[in-house]
Structure formats: structure tokens, C-alpha cells
């Protein structure tokens, strides 16, 4: 009896020790992040105001330099990314999960989609440099193929930047779509088929609506990863210093939509942060810190939306 109690006590102790160790490890990760954030906010605080968000960069006066252009460009790039990655990714996920027969080819494709999510992002930059710019000519308006070489360097457009990041986001959207579809019970599919629905009707009227929350979560997580990407954008020629807003996608006169912005030069939030940190004048580092805070707030709020979506979805549909 005594032996047993001692044994149990020892196991309890082991439990406790591992629990404590796990807690320390977890806190270490979180603490690092919090310290980083606090440090950034403290550094950037003097510049965190409305004017910083709404004014263009300045090469001489750090007090006047703002992030309007990279901010707008980053948002427009995300628009292109979403417009390209969402239909492609959702369609591919639906195809793989609902249409494709299970054979060695689809298994091979599935394995490699998971691998794609782990490919270093610079490779996507190289891919689009070759494919989108040199081959498909998605560079800025007025630049011809011949101008593409050094010393000017590549001159990718907003469209090229958005599509590049869409390639990066695509595997995330595909995987999220498949997982959301897989979580729908077979009995629901059978109910719909048994009423005489075709495969497409089952997908369109049932599976997509029921999985929309999960898919949306995947899209948002993908976008929040893309918005902080730097390497692939540098590869296709992001501008480190740029003072011109692209023409607005929304016009006051018919047809109200304009696509001229797609072929404009682009900068982006992470690129702007990078160039400011490289400036010899320390005042610009304050700007870099402030811009980093804005970028983190953007990604964190995207993630927050994803969490809220997932939570609300779980409450709404309980299989």
C-alpha cells in the first residue's frame, strides 16, 4: 500500500516538473514577443500619429516622412493576392477533395502541396522574376523587355507583386479548403446526393457554404503571412523609396473601376521598414520602428479576424 502511494507521489512529481518546464518554455516564447513589441512601440512612439499614416516619404526630413504609399501599395498587393489565390486555391481544394479519384497521381500532388507551403519564399520571387516579368511581361507600364537587365534591375508591377504573393498563399488556401471540406460529415453529403443533387450542386449548395468559415480562416492566415513578406518582392524590384500613389481603383466617373494601378511601380510596408533601418541617420530608425508597429497591428488584426471567424463558426455548426 505504502509502495503504491510512493509510486503515485513520484509520478505526480514528474507531472509537476514537466508542467513547470512546459510553462517556462511557453512563457519564454511569449515573453520574447511581448518584449519585442514593447520595445518597438517605445522606439516608434514619437512617430505613431495620423500624419505618419497619411503622408508620403521624405528623403531629408524624418519628421515629415510617412508611410502612406507603402501602406496603400501593401493593401493593393493584398487585393491582387486575394483575387488570385482565393478562386484558384478554393477550386483546387474542392477538386482534390471532392472530384479527384484517389490514385498515385493525386496522392503525389497532395504531398507536394503540403511541401509547397514550406518552400523558401525567395524561390517564389525567382519564379515570378522569370515567369511573370521576363516571360509574361508583367512589369511596370512603359518598361520593355530590353530594359529589364542591370543596371536598372527588374521593375515589377503591383500586379506582379500580388501574383507572386498569391503563389505563396496558394498552398495555405488549398490545405485550409480541403481541411474545411473534410470536416463536413459524410452523412451530410449522402443526404444531398440522395435527393438527386449532382456533384456540383452538392459542392455549391452545401459543402462550400458549410466550410466557408474554415476557408475564410485559411485565406486570412495566408494573407497575414503574405503581407509581411519581403524577399520575393525585393527580387522582382520593389521600390525602397517611392513617392507616387498609384491611380485609384475606384473612379468617380463611369465605369467607376480602373485597373491602371495594376501596372504601376510598387513599394510595400516591409520594404519601407527595411530601407529606413538601412539609413545612416538614426532618426529614420524611429520611423522604421513606427512602421513595424503598424505592420504588426495589421497582421495581428488579420489573425484576430481569423480567430473570431473560427470561433463563431464552431458555435454555429456543431456536427
Amino acid at each position: 500500500m505504502d509502495d503504491l502511494n510512493r509510486l503515485i507521489a513520484r509520478r505526480r512529481r514528474q507531472d509537476l516538473i514537466f508542467g513547470a518546464f512546459g510553462l517556462v518554455c511557453t512563457m519564454l516564447g511569449i515573453a520574447t514577443l511581448v518584449i519585442l513589441l514593447v520595445d518597438l512601440v517605445m522606439d516608434g512612439l514619437p512617430r505613431l500619429n495620423w500624419a505618419f499614416l497619411t503622408s508620403a516619404n521624405s528623403i531629408i526630413d524624418p519628421e515629415k516622412a510617412g508611410i502612406l504609399i507603402p501602406l496603400v501599395d501593401s493593401l493593393l498587393i493584398m487585393l491582387v493576392t486575394a483575387a488570385a489565390a482565393v478562386p484558384l486555391g478554393v477550386a483546387a481544394g474542392v477538386y482534390l477533395e471532392e472530384y479527384a479519384r484517389k490514385n498515385w497521381l493525386t496522392t503525389f500532388i497532395e504531398l507536394n502541396i503540403s511541401n509547397l507551403a514550406a518552400v523558401p519564399s525567395i524561390l517564389y520571387g525567382l519564379l515570378s522574376l522569370g515567369l511573370l516579368l521576363y516571360y509574361l511581361n508583367l512589369h511596370q507600364l512603359g518598361i520593355t523587355g530590353a530594359d529589364q537587365r542591370w543596371p536598372l534591375g527588374p521593375r515589377g508591377s503591383l500586379a506582379a507583386a500580388g501574383i507572386t504573393l498569391a503563389l505563396l498563399v496558394l498552398p495555405i488556401v488549398i490545405v485550409a479548403t480541403r481541411e474545411a471540406l473534410r470536416s463536413i460529415p459524410l452523412t451530410i453529403r449522402e443526404a444531398a446526393y440522395a435527393l438527386g443533387a449532382t456533384r456540383w450542386q452538392v459542392v455549391w449548395h452545401h459543402l462550400l457554404p458549410y466550410s466557408s468559415g474554415g476557408i475564410a480562416t485559411g485565406i486570412i492566415i495566408g494573407l497575414s503571412r503574405a503581407i509581411g513578406e519581403t524577399a520575393p518582392l525585393v527580387t522582382i524590384g520593389a521600390a525602397g523609396f517611392w513617392l507616387v500613389l498609384p491611380p485609384s481603383p475606384i473612379q468617380s466617373a463611369p465605369p467607376f473601376l480602373s485597373f491602371a494601378w495594376l501596372l504601376e511601380p510598387f513599394s510595400a510596408m516591409p520594404i519601407q521598414i527595411f530601407t529606413w533601418t538601412q539609413d545612416a541617420r538614426p532618426e529614420f530608425r524611429v520611423n522604421a520602428a513606427a512602421a513595424a508597429v503598424v505592420l504588426i497591428v495589421m497582421t495581428l488584426s488579420l489573425n484576430a479576424v481569423a480567430i473570431v471567424l473560427r470561433y463563431r463558426l464552431r458555435r454555429r455548426i456543431n456536427w
Binding site: 452523412t187 446526393y193 440522395a194 435527393l195 438527386g196 458549410y210
Partner: protein, 267 residues
């Protein structure tokens, strides 16, 4: 159950057949699940399928609406004729979607869509191209009345079907299956997930549907088969052992296996 039209007392038992299995075989991959089934299903009658677990009752039922086509590796052989046209349900040239439009199914576990009560019933109608709101409303009401669910749901048609109790959900599934006026309704152990009260309501419902539509009912519950069915078929290890009028089947089965099964010796 009130019988509105009294049949002539001496009506001869010549019934028309609604469906007919002739040398029907079925394989899940290499598993031979139905072995040479020969069975007739009289029109507008309830035929119960009984037998121990794993004997192939669900498999037979799911041949009727070609559910097996949804999964790879399944194979049919033989004939399953839908009368009066005599079209072979399981022929590769027969369109499974058409068969599912004409033959509907109620599953073991209630499986309403996570949509409103109204939309659950309306979905089958919309698939058939009915889109006028007035017509939809009328047909949905009619189906819910058939399924004895109208009074409980008429004030909450646009609430989620998931707010209904298990028994109500199953009646909703029955309404959904009836809404499109199918020729045959397949019930696969429709009450096995329900309590006795809900079960008896569903049994009443199935009983009331006789004479309107041909019904196939898989059940593990002998009393249920005895209560609601006109004919009973006993299956064992993928084979049809015996089929007869329900009363005869339960009082004097001709096969030893049947007798042992219905007296509760196995299964």
C-alpha cells in the same frame, strides 16, 4: 389508421410490383456483400428487411438509389428493375441522379442540413427546378404535414433545423424525402437513434404512408417490422433466406434460420 378508401373486401391479392431484384450481386471491392438476391417489392406496400448485423440490408437498400456509386471500388451485377418501365436501376447506362430523384432515402441517423427547416425541405424541390416562392411554400407545408411536423414547426420555419429534437429532425428528414413525391422511399433503421416516443411517431408515420408510396424499411426491431410492414424479407450473410407476408413470416416461418432469428436465438 383511418382508411379513406375502403378496398373491395374480396380484392384478389394480385398486386403490381414496384421493383424487382433479379440475381442481384454486389461487391465492396473484393467483399461479396449481396449474393444472388431475387426479391419483389409490391407497389404501395411496406416491405421490411430484417436480419442480423452485417447481413447486407443497408447494402441492398443503397443499391436502389445508387449510393454505392459515391465510393470507388464498388460493383453491381444483375438486375434491379424499377417498374412499370422496367428500367434497370443498377445498369451503368442508368443515370444515378435520375434514380435518386425518383427514389428517396431516410438515413439511420437524422441528417438535416445546417440550414433552416424550410430550406431543408425545399432543397429537393429546388433541385427539381421549382423556384416560385408560393409553390415552394405550399409544397413544403404539404410535406411537413405528411411528416406530422407542421404543427410543431409552422412558427419557426426559418430557424435552424439543428434546434429541433432528434425525433423532430428525423421527421424533418422524412418530410425532405417525401417533398419531391418519390416513387419509393428507403428507410434505413430510421428509429435506431430515437427514444420510444419518437419511434412510435415515426412508425405511425410510415404506417400512414402505405397506399401512397412504396416503402422499404430496414429494421433490427422485430416488433417494428410486425407493426408497420406488409411483407418481410429475412437476409443472412448476403443472401435472401425467406420472404413472405409479415403475418405469415412471424407466425410460421418456413426456414429454420428465420425461425431462430425471429425468436431471438441470434443476431
Amino acid at each position: 389508421m383511418p382508411q379513406t378508401v375502403a378496398p373491395t373486401a374480396t380484392a384478389p391479392a394480385v398486386e403490381s410490383l414496384k421493383a424487382q431484384a433479379i440475381d442481384l450481386n454486389f461487391w465492396y471491392g473484393s467483399k461479396h456483400a449481396l449474393k444472388g438476391i431475387n426479391l419483389s417489392f409490391p407497389e404501395n406496400k411496406v416491405t421490411a428487411l430484417i436480419g442480423p448485423s452485417g447481413c447486407g440490408k443497408s447494402t441492398l437498400l443503397r443499391c436502389f438509389n445508387r449510393m454505392h456509386d459515391l465510393y470507388p471500388g464498388n460493383r453491381y451485377q444483375g438486375q434491379l428493375l424499377l417498374q412499370p418501365s422496367g428500367c434497370n436501376i443498377i445498369a451503368p447506362t442508368t443515370d444515378p441522379v435520375e434514380m435518386r430523384m425518383r427514389i428517396s432515402m431516410v438515413f439511420q441517423k437524422p441528417n438535416p442540413f445546417p440550414k433552416s427547416i424550410f430550406e431543408n425541405v425545399a432543397f429537393g424541390l429546388r433541385l427539381r427546378g421549382i423556384s416560385k416562392p408560393a409553390v415552394l411554400r405550399e409544397r413544403v407545408e404539404e410535406a411537413l404535414r405528411f411528416a406530422a411536423l407542421w404543427d410543431e414547426t409552422k412558427d419557426r420555419l426559418h430557424q435552424s433545423a439543428y434546434n429541433l429534437s432528434g425525433g423532430q429532425q428525423q421527421r424533418l428528414c422524412i418530410a425532405r424525402a417525401l417533398a419531391s413525391e418519390p416513387e419509393i422511399v428507403l428507410f434505413d433503421e430510421p428509429t435506431s437513434a430515437l427514444d420510444p416516443m419518437a419511434t412510435s411517431r415515426i412508425e405511425d408515420l410510415i404506417y400512414s404512408l402505405r397506399n401512397r408510396v412504396t416503402i422499404l424499411l430496414v429494421t433490427h426491431n422485430m416488433q417494428q417490422a410486425a407493426r408497420v410492414s406488409d411483407y418481410t424479407a429475412f437476409m443472412y450473410l448476403g443472401e435472401l433466406i425467406e420472404v413472405n407476408e409479415t403475418a405469415k413470416m412471424f407466425h410460421m416461418p418456413t426456414q429454420r434460420l428465420t425461425e431462430e432469428y425471429i425468436s431471438g436465438h441470434f443476431g
